[in-house]
C-alpha cells in the first residue's frame, strides 16, 4: 500500500499552487459553459445524452491541455531536484512511486471533470432538459478516461526525460501534434491525394483508420457510437466504436507502461 502514501503526499503538494488550480479550472469551466449554452443553442430534444455530442469537441482540445500540463512534471521535477531520492530511499519501489503519481494526478483531473459534469448535468436538465442517466454516466466515464490518457501521456513525458524543461517540450509537443495540427495534416493529406486524383473527396478507410488513431478522434468516435443518440459512426468494422474502445484502452496504458519500464531499469544518479 506504499503507493497510497505517495499518492496522498503528491495530491496535497500538486494541488496547492495557483497554477495547478488554473489548469484544473480549464475543463471545469469548459464543461460548465457548454452546459449553460447547450440548452440555448442545442436542438430539441435537450438531453444529457445529446449534450455529450455538443461538448465532446471542446473537451477534445481542453482536456489534453490540462492533462499534459498536470502530468509533465509529476516525476521529473522530483528527479531534477533530487527529492525523488528521498522518496525512493524510503521503502517505496519505483512501481509504488509511479503508481502513486499516476493515481494522484489522474485523480485530480478526474475529480474536477466529475464534479463539473454533475453540476453541468443540472444545468442541462433544469428547467426543460431530460436526464438520460445511463448514457450520460458512460460519457462521463469516457471523459474521465480521456483525461487519464492525456495525464498519462504527460507523466510518460515526465518518466522519459531528465529535466523539467525537456519533459515540457515533449508533453507540449504531443499536445501540439495530436491536438492542434493533426486535423490540418489529415486535411492536407486529403487535399493532396484529391488533387492528385488518387481519392474521391475523402480519405480511403484504412488511411482514415490511421488518421483517427489520435486519442481525441477516438474519444469522439466512442461518444458518437455509444452515448450520443443524435450521432452514429459509419464505415467498415475497424472504424466502429468497439475498435475505438480498444484503441482507447491502448492509449490509456501503452505509453505509461513503456516509459515506466525504461524508468524502472535506469540509473537515477
Amino acid at each position: 500500500m506504499n503507493w497510497r502514501v505517495i499518492a496522498r503526499t503528491d495530491a496535497a503538494l500538486a494541488s496547492a499552487p495557483r497554477s495547478t488550480r488554473l489548469v484544473l479550472g480549464l475543463p471545469a469551466v469548459t464543461i460548465l459553459v457548454a452546459a449553460y449554452l447547450y440548452p440555448v443553442f442545442g436542438s430539441e430534444p435537450i438531453t444529457t445524452a445529446r449534450f455529450a455530442g455538443f461538448v465532446d469537441g471542446w473537451l477534445a482540445t481542453v482536456v489534453p491541455l490540462t492533462g499534459v500540463l498536470l502530468g509533465h512534471d509529476a516525476v521529473v521535477s522530483e528527479r531534477e531536484s533530487g527529492s525523488l531520492l528521498l522518496s525512493l530511499s524510503l521503502p517505496h519501489g519505483r512501481d509504488d512511486f509511479v503508481l502513486g503519481k499516476v493515481l494522484s494526478r489522474v485523480g485530480l483531473v478526474s475529480g474536477v471533470i466529475l464534479a463539473a459534469m454533475i453540476v453541468g448535468a443540472g444545468l442541462v436538465v433544469y428547467p426543460f432538459g431530460r436526464l438520460e442517466a445511463v448514457r450520460f454516466c458512460g460519457f462521463v466515464a469516457t471523459t474521465v478516461a480521456f483525461g487519464a490518457i492525456w495525464t498519462n501521456l504527460g507523466i510518460a513525458a515526465s518518466l522519459s526525460t531528465a529535466t523539467k524543461q525537456r519533459a515540457f517540450v515533449v508533453a507540449f509537443g504531443l499536445f501540439f501534434l495530436l491536438v492542434l495540427v493533426w486535423d490540418g495534416i489529415a486535411d492536407g493529406l486529403r487535399y493532396g491525394l484529391d488533387r492528385a486524383g488518387l481519392v474521391d473527396g475523402s480519405l480511403p478507410d484504412p488511411v482514415r483508420f490511421v488518421v483517427d488513431l489520435e486519442p481525441g478522434a477516438v474519444f469522439q468516435r466512442i461518444t458518437a457510437g455509444f452515448f450520443d443518440p443524435s450521432a452514429s459512426v459509419d464505415g467498415p468494422w475497424y472504424l466502429g466504436e468497439w475498435v475505438a474502445l480498444a484503441v482507447f484502452g491502448l492509449w490509456l496504458i501503452g505509453p505509461i507502461m513503456v516509459t515506466y519500464s525504461r524508468f524502472a531499469g535506469s540509473d537515477l544518479s
Binding site: 506504499n2 502514501v5 496522498r8 503526499t9 503538494l13 496547492a16 499552487p17 531536484s81 533530487g82 527529492s83 531520492l85 528521498l86 522518496s87 525512493l88 530511499s89 524510503l90 521503502p91 517505496h92 519501489g93 509504488d96 531499469g265 540509473d267 537515477l268 544518479s269
Partner: protein, 304 residues
C-alpha cells in the same frame, strides 16, 4: 545478522570504472566508516545499495535481501541520508517527518525526532528555507524514523559546523548502542576516526583497505606529523632524531624546519633529543596526517 553484504560489486559508466569489484560486509551494531577522496566511488556504492544505480557486475544485499531484485524489502529496516537529495519544496520540516513515518508505517512522534536532531524551532517552516546544515539534520531525522537496524549515511556532516558534527556523532553513537549498524561515508578523516569501529578506504573505485583506525595507522606509520623550526639544523641532528624510538621518518626542509612523523608518545622525546643536541626550538606544530597523506602512504606501502 549481517547488515550489508557486497560481493564483487562493479559499476562502469561507459569506459569509466566507478566501482571495481568491491566486497565488504558490515555487521549489526558496528559503525563502519567509508573513506575516500571525492570521486572515489563512495556515493556510487551507496547508490547501488539503494538501487538508484544498477551494478554492472556483482551483487549487494541488505539483511539478506538483494538490493536490486528485492529493493523494497531491503530498505524496510534501513534509514537513509542519500547523496544529492533535495528536500520537498513545499513541505515543512514536520511534514517531512510525517511523510517518513507514514512511509515506514512507524509510530514515531515527529516533534520528538525534530528535537533530537536539534531543529524543533524550525519545525513548521518550509524545509526549502533551511540552511544546508539544517537540511542535513532533517534528513538524518527522517532516517531515524522507525528505529532502523541500519543507517546508511552519505557524508552526514556536510554543511555542519564542528559542534553540529559532534552532535550528529553522539546521535550515531546512541543508535549504535541501541544495536543499529551504521555505515557512513566521509572524506574527512577526523570524523571517521572519532566514531568508527572499522573503516574501509576506497580509491578510484577500489577498496584498498578495510581495518580498524588503529590498524590503519599502524600499517601506514605513526600518523602524527611534527613540524619543528630550529635555529640551526645539520644532518647529524636529523639523523639523531631519526633514531629516537617511535619515529618513522625525519627530514629537513627549508634548511631549518624538521618534519617528523612519529607515534604520539614519541613527540616529547623528539623535542628532548633536539635540546640535548643543543638545537634551539623556535616553533613547534603538529599536523594530523591528512587523508590524502594516509592514502599516499597506504597505497605506496601496499604496492611496495
Amino acid at each position: 545478522m549481517t547488515a550489508i553484504t557486497a560481493d564483487g560489486v562493479s559499476k562502469r559508466y561507459g569506459t569509466v570504472t566507478a566501482l571495481d569489484h568491491v566486497s565488504l560486509s558490515v555487521e549489526e551494531g558496528e559503525i563502519f566508516g567509508f573513506l575516500g577522496p571525492n570521486g572515489a566511488g563512495k556515493s556510487t556504492f551507496i547508490n547501488v545499495l539503494l538501487d538508484f544505480a544498477r551494478p554492472t557486475d556483482g551483487s549487494a544485499e541488505l539483511f539478506g535481501h538483494d538490493c536490486q531484485t528485492e529493493g523494497v524489502a531491503a530498505r524496510e529496516r534501513v534509514g537513509v541520508l542519500p547523496d544529492g537529495y533535495s528536500v520537498f519544496d513545499r513541505l515543512t520540516g514536520r511534514q517531512h517527518l510525517e511523510y517518513a513515518v507514514r512511509s515506514k508505517a512507524a509510530d514515531d512522534d515527529p516533534a520528538e525526532i525534530l528535537d533530537r536532531v536539534g531543529i524543533s524551532e524550525a519545525a513548521d517552516r518550509p524545509a526549502s528555507d533551511y540552511s544546508k546544515g539544517m537540511k542535513q539534520r532533517l534528513i538524518l531525522g527522517m532516517s531515524l524514523v522507525g528505529d532502523p537496524d541500519l543507517l546508511l549515511l552519505d557524508e552526514p556532516t556536510t554543511g555542519l559546523d564542528p559542534n553540529g558534527a559532534a552532535e550528529i556523532r553522539s546521535i550515531l553513537r546512541e543508535e549504535r548502542d541501541r544495536g543499529a549498524a551504521i555505515f557512513f561515508s566521509s572524506h574527512i578523516l577526523e570524523q571517521v576516526e572519532a566514531i568508527c569501529d572499522r573503516v574501509g578506504i576506497l580509491q578510484n573505485g577500489e577498496l584498498v583497505a578495510v581495518d580498524t583506525i588503529d590498524g590503519l595507522r599502524q600499517s601506514i606509520g605513526g600518523g602524527t606529523k611534527l613540524l619543528i623550526d630550529v635555529d640551526e639544523l645539520d644532518d647529524a641532528t636529523t639523523e639523531a632524531v631519526r633514531s629516537v624510538d617511535g619515529v618513522e621518518t625525519a627530514t629537513a626542509s627549508d634548511g631549518t624546519t624538521l618534519e617528523v612523523t612519529c607515534t604520539n608518545d614519541a613527540k616529547m622525546d623528539v623535542v628532548v633529543e633536539l635540546q640535548r643536541r643543543g638545537a634551539d626550538v623556535m616553533n613547534f606544530r603538529t599536523e594530523e596526517a591528512s587523508l590524502e597523506e594516509m592514502f599516499a602512504a597506504y597505497t605506496r606501502g601496499g604496492r611496495a
